[in-house]
Amino acid sequence: MLDDFFLRALLAGIGVAVTAGPLGCFVVWRRMAYFGDTMAHAGLLGVALALVFQVAPVIGVFAVTAAIAAVLLLLDRRRALSTDALLGLLAHGTLAVGLVLVALMTNVRIDLTALLFGDVLAVGVSDVVLIWAGGAVVLAGLAWFWRPLLADTVHPDLAAAEGMRPDRARAVLMLLMALVIAVAMKVVGVLLITALLIIPAAAARRLSATPEAMAVLASLTGALSVVLGLVASLQWDTPSGPSIVVAAVVLFGLGLVLPAFRIGR
């Protein structure tokens, strides 16, 4: 059963899940799920632009999502617009523009389904390397900025007063999210990346006593979802990306009925 393509898919999926776990915790704690969605949807525009300018899709996705994040960060700081409406505008606006651009490009054949829902069974060795390298950068960045990020999550003013430079930490968080979206797109696609960020984190919540425990548990839950989802996808010939997300949802449900015990206390 463990064909080469399946092994690569497992490695790629686990790499993304382990990275997405701790980052997803921040998305949950900071109530940024819609924010993450917006960035992910903008990823499609990134792919389209990458094709136009003939650069690697990963670079296009990273550049566009990071730019969107920067815009959101600036607008949020000025409290210029209702964030909710603004996010909706950007999320669907960029998605729509991306779809239109992709459709206009008749000279290249693009598998739109793969962009939207991922195609993890088609990842190559270079994709796996990219995912693990990008993941390592993201995890290292998170570890480096963990305390300021957490302090900012609890109370931005407190973090600022006590010298945590929360502005810087926030910018780093956005960059790391852009990076994760760029490398995760191949695995679950733009529409389901947020699911991989928030569902494992949500599943880990009840079983965790500290933020650190939740981060680790979210990674493990995500990795388990990937394994279960891919095996199921192979077994029943279901699409792999959605299968992974379904597995994560099932694990979340199981977590709800588990007796309450806490890890990390």
Binding site: R31, A151, T153, H155, A161, E162, P211
Partner: protein, 300 residues
């Protein structure tokens, strides 16, 4: 104005001073939240800000804490100043698992040897492993104070540190704040949640109302004509009570006398709740044993 002359606005070199605001003003959407605020906090000094809602207390504290930038004037801090901050309101999202113990190391690394005594000092050592979200208002305030304390700050900035705490808890917390000051020699900038209540150990009261309306020792501010005009009002002659917010704790005079952590000025009236029990008491201001009255500084 004579009371300003008696307690002059801070001038001269910074020296030992922890934080100095000179002529600070903050503007938001064309409106001045606060203006012309002068303020010094020196080591071992307790400065209390009082004032009505929207008078710029929190804004002033945030500028002192370096969280907000002043639109005019200057905020200077001693180089390398270590600040401990207790914000007015913290809501820890329930999705964030956070034990009290973990909360202590939010902005710096500390070992149990530092954390345990701090929790002990505020009286919540037994809650060390509890979820922060499960604490009562008073317990949470204590945890916040312990967290700020653990940092061994040079300057402690406390924005309404006794809010949501019942009267006896309030007394304990004020006593604790005094002890922190006495033992560590840190300076404290404290915002009082009640316009009419000031911690007895306060060295300087700064009364804000969009600007510095008056300043001085607790006693002198209580007797300051401008303070009386703005906040003492008509009740000054009729009522003088320690009025306590929200929890309606009855405060027999004996209680107040034991309250070495807080004094009431003699002109308070309650402005939000009706306290039927307030009336008919004989109100000699119960700050007989406070530092303020011993200092002998009346208003000029």
């Amino acid at each position: 104005m004579d009371h300003v002359a008696a307690f002059p606005a801070p001038v001269g070199p910074l020296g030992e001073t922890l934080v100095r605001l000179s002529g600070v003003g903050v503007q938001r959407s064309g409106r001045w939240l606060t203006r012309n605020v002068d303020l010094d906090v020196r080591p071992g000094e307790i400065v209390t800000l009082i004032g009505p809602n929207g008078s710029g207390k929190t804004t002033t504290a945030k500028i002192a804490a370096g969280v907000m930038r002043a639109d005019e004037g200057r905020a200077e801090t001693r180089p390398g100043l270590r600040i401990g901050y207790v914000p007015q309101k913290i809501v820890i999202d329930w999705t964030l698992p956070m034990t009290v113990r973990r909360m202590m190391t939010l902005t710096a690394r500390h070992g149990p040897a530092e954390i345990d005594p701090a929790l002990e000092a505020v009286g919540i050592a037994h809650l060390a492993e509890a979820e922060a979200q499960s604490l009562s208002g008073g317990e949470f305030q204590r945890a916040l104070l312990a967290r700020a304390m653990v940092r061994r700050p040079d300057l402690l900035i406390l924005d309404e540190p006794v809010q949501g705490v019942d009267f006896s808890g309030e007394v304990t917390l004020y006593a604790l704040i005094k002890r922190i000051r006495d033992e560590t020699g840190c300076g404290i900038l404290l915002i009082s949640h009640d316009l009419h209540v000031v911690m007895a150990e306060t060295d300087t009261v700064v009364c804000l109302n969009g600007h510095v309306c008056c300043r001085g020792t607790p006693q002198s501010v209580a007797e300051n004509p401008e303070y009386l005009r703005l906040f003492g009002g008509r009740s000054a002659s009729a009522l003088a009570v320690y009025s306590h917010d929200h929890d309606h704790t009855h405060l027999p005079d004996g209680h107040i006398r034991n309250a070495d952590g807080s004094i009431t000025d003699g002109h308070a009236r309650h402005h939000e709740h009706e306290h039927a029990h307030d009336h008919g008491h004989d109100h000699s201001p119960p700050h007989g044993q406070s530092r303020a009255s011993q200092s002998g500084q009346g208003h000029a």
